[in-house]
Each structure stands twice: as structure tokens, then as C-alpha cells.
Subunit: 281 residues, 2 copies
């Protein structure tokens, strides 16, 4: 037993690698899974990507990402729905049942968070039947509140669960990403609720670095380099019975400047030290 | 009626001004109140500051700030309590019953948010009798979650209310600062609860600018320049019956580089356009 049986490399972590390099790198490091970004998949096309992953003997833990569902303009709404339908079909073709959904921020000049959240609920309702048909879960991702206005009007796991509530848990679920949710004073209760509702579709880990990077999107770091208590968070997730993959997704200029094999070695070591010991509840 | 009867200049907004310049500038602009930072008060000492404000015919809407209550080291705990006792006495001497409290982040190397929050609750209990004795309210300020680890383990109004709950509302209350709380999906309910408990001690307004400034502390801006819906937020606060001052507190390099009188003219105009129309519920 290598201790890596649930560890997944999200392709965003090895940004300099092509899809093939990332899949081969993950396999070489003994990882059983990869989380794929759609632009990486688009390099070779969905059928070739699916074959490439299959041939490497790894599984796809998630597809990143659908979403951006807050438009008011009817043309933009239609375009967003079409794009999300395509993403759902891609996830199914790639053999994963998890489509990570980042819901989107405020339209330009708009300040109405409540209105944007209501539109997200409507779009999720539009997409849920498509997701069910393909056997794919829409995995709603709460993003850190610093992105509330421009990337995701969905800021907490609780809010994601409230959005998911009208739908079956095998159709609409949630992502727990440590970077985005560690600060939440209601986190323990929200993760427990997510577990009891059977709605934890993905557990993504990376650290929150301080000071916040000049581009705040890049303030994600290797587990142990920042302020997050991975023992506490991982135990909360494990206590729900979550048995899925643990994806490492790091946007970070220094990580991206490091050779991929070295990144994989570091993330595997950090996973062993900070996450794995707490994963069995 | 000038429409300015509740508008207060927080001295952080006119950083280049001395205490006297800020107080005189506020009076010149027809503002009835100033929010004072302790370092500004320390320029002249508390008695002289109190006289200076009195002579200018303005009131003190709040003193910023007490807090930083998360230490584990006994010496640091004692130092923090001493500093907060001094701040409470200063507030009383300056004629304000509002001491803004920023609770502090994680001690260096510590990742235990729950533990830090528990220590804050203990320190608030230590300080509450002192505050009551001086007729000063400890106004707990929830800070944006991007500061959860390094400045305030208190991230939501609801969490502030839970911390305040063991104490009478005239002793421990909360601040509503638009920048810090606008993103919160539970905000409407939390502000209503704060009102029904009689715990809104201060309403501070400034906008949230995007992209986030390289120093995220400086991403505060003039009302109307960012993403916050001041109409919606102000109506929530007004609906509680809040009748106190509205303080404008902006940390922003461009604002600081602008002559103080110009800053005051802009903030008064923005207050009239974005806040005042919604302040009477």
C-alpha cells in the first residue's frame, strides 16, 4: 500500500505540462488519478484525452470546470448553458462523474449579489436534467469570499448546499476546497451537513499562503506552506465517510516554475505528512 | 438640513492629516463627527485630543481600535489586556462609547482557528467588566475572510454576535463595515439579528475595489468605485432602526495621495449619492 490510492494531480498544478505529460507524470509518480481542466483536454480533443488517460491506467477524478452562470443577457445565458451542456458531456466521455462548477461573479456594472445567486439557482435547475442524463454530478464549488464579486457569488459550503437542495445528491453536489473554505466559522457544521446529505463530490487540497499574492488567484500553495490546519479539515471530511479522491490543485507561480516531477514528489510528500494521516477518520 | 448629520470622517481616510488637521477639516466640511485612530490621538495625548475635538464642535463616533486578543503566551496576553484597558479608558475620555475591536489573527506558526476564537471569547469576558465600568461598548468587527489568518479570526457578523451573546448589548456589540461583510450570504439575517439584539454599535462604509490591491488592506475605495451595493446594505442597517453615525474609513494609496479637503468633498458627495438616500429605512 503506497498511501497514494486516493491522491489525484489536478492539471492546474503542473501548468507547464501538456495533458499527456501530466497524465504520464501522475502515472510515473504512482498516482491513481488526475483532475483535468477542459483547456488541457481540448489540446487533443475529448476522445483522444479519454484514451490517453485510459491507456495510462489512471482515472479522472474531476473535470474543471463548468459554471459562469450569472449572466443576465439572454444570449450570454444561452451560451453559458450550451457550454455547460458540453462540459457535462465531456465529463461523461472522460469517465468522471464530477464536473466542478464555479458559478461566476457579478456581470459588469452589476452589484446585486442576491440577484446573481438567484440566476445561478435557475441555471442549475436548467442543467440538472442534463447532468442526470449523463450520470454526472454538478459539483458546486464555494470560492473564497475575496472572489465573491468577480468569480463566484457562492462563498460557503452551506450556501452551496442550499443551492443543491432542490436536486438529488447524485445530480448536484459540492466541492470542499481547503483554500476556499478554511476560514469559515460554520465549516464543521456545513461539512457534516454535506456528508449527511451525501453531497461531497470532491475534496481538493492546497494551502492558503500569506501574504496574499499580488494576483490573489496565485496565493495557493503546497500543503504545509501556509496557514491551513489540514489535520482538522481532513478529519471533518473523513468523518462524513467521504471515500473519494483528494485532488491537489495549486495555482502558484513558483510551483509552475518548478519541474513537474519535482512538484509531484513534493505534493506526494506533503500529502503523506499533512493529509493522509487524517483521511481515515 | 445638510444631509450630513450622521456622516463621520475616520482619520484613516485622511492619512496625511494630523489629528488637528483632520478634526478641523471635518468641521470645515460640515461633518458632525470624526472616528479616531489611537496613533493619531497619541500625537497630542488624550486630554489634548479630547479638548481639540470639543473645541471644534464635533463628536467622536468611535475609537479605533482595541483587540489583538489571540495570543497564547501569558506575557502577550497580559500586554494585550493592558493595552485594551487603556483603549477603553481613552475612548471614555474622548467622549465616545464605541471602541472598535479587531480581534487578531493566528499567532505565528499556529493554525488552530477554533482555539484562537475561544481565546478571543475569554479575553472579551476579561474586558467586558472594564468596558461596562467606563460606559464603553466593545464593538467587535468582523473582517473580510481574506484576513482570517493574520488579522481577525472573526469573519462574519453572525460570528461576532455569537461572541457578543454572553454580554449585555451596551457592553459588547458589533461593527458593520461594508467592505468586510458585503459578500456574506447570511448578511441580511445577521444584520436583522444584530438590530433585534440592539448590538449595532457602528456602521462603516467604503467600497470593495477590484482587482484587489497588491496590498489587500488598501483595496478599500470611495463608495461607488467598487462592487458594493450600498443601497441594499444601507437599507438592511436602516431597517434595524440604527440611528448612529456613518463612518467613512478608507485605506487607499490614491485617496491618501489626494488633498484632504478634496477627499472630504468626494466622500460627502458619494455619501449623499450612495448611502444617505437609503438611511431612513
Amino acid at each position: 500500500m503506497t498511501g497514494r490510492s486516493r491522491l489525484s494531480l489536478n492539471t492546474a498544478t503542473t501548468k507547464g505540462w501538456t495533458l499527456r505529460e501530466a497524465v504520464d507524470g501522475a502515472a510515473r509518480a504512482g498516482l491513481p488519478a488526475v483532475g483535468l481542466w477542459r483547456d488541457r483536454v481540448a489540446e487533443v480533443g475529448v476522445p483522444a484525452a479519454a484514451k490517453l488517460v485510459r491507456d495510462a491506467g489512471v482515472r479522472v477524478s474531476s473535470l474543471c470546470r463548468g459554471g459562469f452562470l450569472t449572466a443576465t443577457d439572454p444570449h450570454e445565458v444561452r451560451a453559458a448553458l450550451a457550454d455547460n451542456r458540453a462540459a457535462i458531456a465531456e465529463a461523461a466521455a472522460l469517465g468522471t462523474d464530477v464536473l466542478v462548477v464555479v458559478v461566476g461573479g457579478l456581470p459588469a456594472g452589476d452589484r446585486d449579489l442576491a440577484g446573481a445567486r438567484a440566476r445561478v439557482a435557475d441555471r442549475i435547475a436548467d442543467l440538472a436534467p442534463v447532468a442526470r442524463e449523463h450520470g454526472v454530478r454538478l459539483a458546486l464549488e464555494a470560492l473564497h469570499p475575496m472572489y465573491a464579486a468577480d468569480r463566484a457569488v457562492l462563498s460557503t459550503v452551506e450556501q452551496a448546499l442550499d443551492l443543491a437542495r432542490p436536486h438529488p445528491p447524485d445530480v448536484v453536489a459540492v466541492v470542499v476546497d481547503t483554500f476556499h473554505v478554511f476560514w469559515d466559522p460554520r465549516l464543521a457544521a456545513s461539512i457534516a451537513r454535506a456528508g449527511s446529505e451525501g453531497r461531497i463530490a470532491a475534496y481538493q487540497v492546497c494551502d492558503f499562503l500569506l501574504p496574499i499574492a499580488p494576483d490573489p488567484l496565485l496565493s495557493r500553495g503546497m500543503m504545509g506552506d501556509g496557514v491551513i490546519d489540514f489535520a482538522a479539515l481532513t478529519r471533518l471530511v473523513a468523518a462524513t465517510g467521504y471515500a473519494g479522491d483528494v485532488e491537489v490543485e495549486i495555482f502558484n507561480a513558483d510551483v509552475w516554475a518548478t519541474p513537474g516531477d519535482e512538484v509531484l514528489a513534493t505534493m506526494t510528500a506533503r500529502y503523506r505528512d499533512h493529509v493522509l494521516p487524517h483521511l481515515d477518520g
